[in-house]
């Protein structure tokens, strides 16, 4: 397998684009990534598009706007992990020597559903019985609070931190800071979550251009190395499971660190899947940033804030930057790549050399999560 580098990234800022088509939400991110990479349209040998709810041929619909057609375009659905899973497919194809240059995008338009909780698969037994994503995470939170003494104030602190970072990101959906009181007194969604404990619904796109390390040098003097690329599915369990331990992330993190030849202490910056406040705390532990039960302390000590030991979600994360499902994976990658290139301005993690992205996708019965993708990048 060959070394692979990221040579360009682009984002369509996450927002509500009710009057735009999926294609028109998607192409600006793709164009920005191509321009950032400095590649010609004809240099792109294959494209992979992640979208959870975009409908048929999302990738082709976006790419035709830019006249990039005729190449192999593959559409990939893996819920919230759609574009991170697409990234892995592109990575494998370049690493294997099938292509030298490939494009990955994620695109989503959730405003077409009119708001409310994310529409889930109606064939699923628990979904037919009223399971919604905030309730699933709410139950994780309730159990964690009971087992580890987490308080509602500590939980709300995750949202405060997310918005503090997001306020520094011009591409975030929410760029306002929030207070603990505002988080705790917002309207109830699924207890213990108020609205500000939940990522917003929205639209957006993100794109990444990758190349073999050898080819990358033709285009850029600042390639970002893909140190590992990993996707797992959850394990189906009909019996009891510990909802305070996201097993798929624990398993994936172990594989990712082994593949990259590093440990959690070597990570300088991470973008993790904070769809709800509790998720970020669970992932501190699952990714090895702290021991089990110590996540709230890690947050309170400022270790995961900008300036701390391991800043998590400097972009604002899903809670503040937004979460157009399929677009999130490559948006996380775009953020980490920019961090490693030192381009993040007020939210820059000083001296970041190693970055991690983590994206899970759930919403079906019997799984902790249906999918989880972890990537590690380095310069």
């Amino acid at each position: 397998m060959r070394e692979v580098s990221v040579i360009g990234v682009g984002i369509t800022p996450f927002a509500k684009y009710r009057d735009k088509t999926l294609a028109d939400i998607g192409w600006p991110a793709v164009k920005a990534a191509i321009e950032d990479a400095g590649v010609e349209k004809k240099d792109i040998e294959a494209a992979y598009c992640g979208s959870a709810l975009g409908g048929m041929m999302s990738g082709q619909r976006v790419m035709k706007q830019l006249g990039i057609t005729g190449l192999p375009i593959t559409n990939i659905e893996n819920a919230c992990s759609s574009s991170s899973s697409a990234f892995r497919q592109a990575y494998i194809s370049v690493a294997a020597g099938v292509y030298d240059v490939a494009l990955v995008m994620g695109v989503e338009k959730l405003t077409k559903f009119g708001g409310g909780t994310l529409p889930l698969e109606k064939e699923d037994f628990e979904v037919t019985h009223g399971l919604v994503m905030p309730a699933l995470y709410g139950m994780r939170a309730r159990r964690y609070m009971h087992d580890y003494g987490l308080t509602e104030e500590q939980l709300a602190g995750v949202a405060v931190k997310a918005h503090k970072h997001g306020a520094l990101n011009p591409e975030a959906q929410f760029r306002n800071e929030v207070t603990l009181d505002e988080v705790m007194n917002a309207r109830q969604i699924a207890e213990p979550f108020t609205l500000l404990h939940c990522c917003p619904s929205g639209d957006g796109a993100s794109a990444v251009v990758i190349a073999s390390a050898e080819k990358a040098r033709q285009y850029t003097t600042s390639p970002v190395r893909v140190a590992c690329s990993e996707v797992n599915s959850g394990k189906y369990m009909t019996g009891f499971r510990d909802m305070t331990t996201p097993e798929i992330t624990v398993r994936g993190a172990k594989q990712a660190y082994e593949e990259a030849g590093i440990g959690p202490d070597d990570v300088d910056v991470a973008e993790v899947h904070d769809a709800f406040t509790i998720a970020e705390l669970l992932y501190y532990e699952a990714l090895g940033f702290c021991d089990k039960g110590d996540a709230a302390k890690l947050l309170e000590d400022g270790e995961t804030s900008l300036g701390g030991r391991i800043p998590v979600n400097p972009s604002g994360g899903l809670l503040s930057k937004g979460h157009p499902i399929g677009a999130t994976g490559t948006a996380q990658i775009a953020e980490v790549v920019r961090q490693l290139r030192g381009e993040c301005g007020d939210r820059q993690v000083d001296g970041a050399k190693v970055g991690l992205t983590h994206c899970t996708g759930g919403g079906i019965s019997g799984f902790d999560h249906g999918a989880c993708s972890i990537h590690i990048f380095s310069v």
Binding site: A135, E191, Y236, T238
Partner: protein
Amino acid sequence: MAQTAEHTEAHVLLAGESVRNESDGSVRLVGGRCDDCGTLFFPSAHVCPECMSEAVAAADLANDGTLYSWSVVHVAPRGWNTPYIAGYVDLSDGIRVFAHVTGTDASLLEMDMAVSLTTAILGDDDGVPVESYAFTPVKG
């Protein structure tokens, strides 16, 4: 708050073959048990997720368990009676079931408390009551 189900009028029955009505008005959850490897699972399926055997027979599940966790849901798709309590119940035979928790105020719930099977009206489908199984705290 969901009400106790009335069996005298038309209902949309959510759980279908996963619930059996007994002659005394009570209900049983019905899962699947693999005839070949003995794995018990819920809801049932036409193939065993452990050994892929298609010899799966209906199996009554325990009607008592403990509340693993819960969330009071205020925002849900149209049709559900909100707020409702969503929970995971760990049955005494080792199966975890997602269920609405009814017949109680959420403030009275406790982690790992004993709950038992019941039925409830959980919402409506264009005016027709939607009924399914639910769990309620064991009194006393």
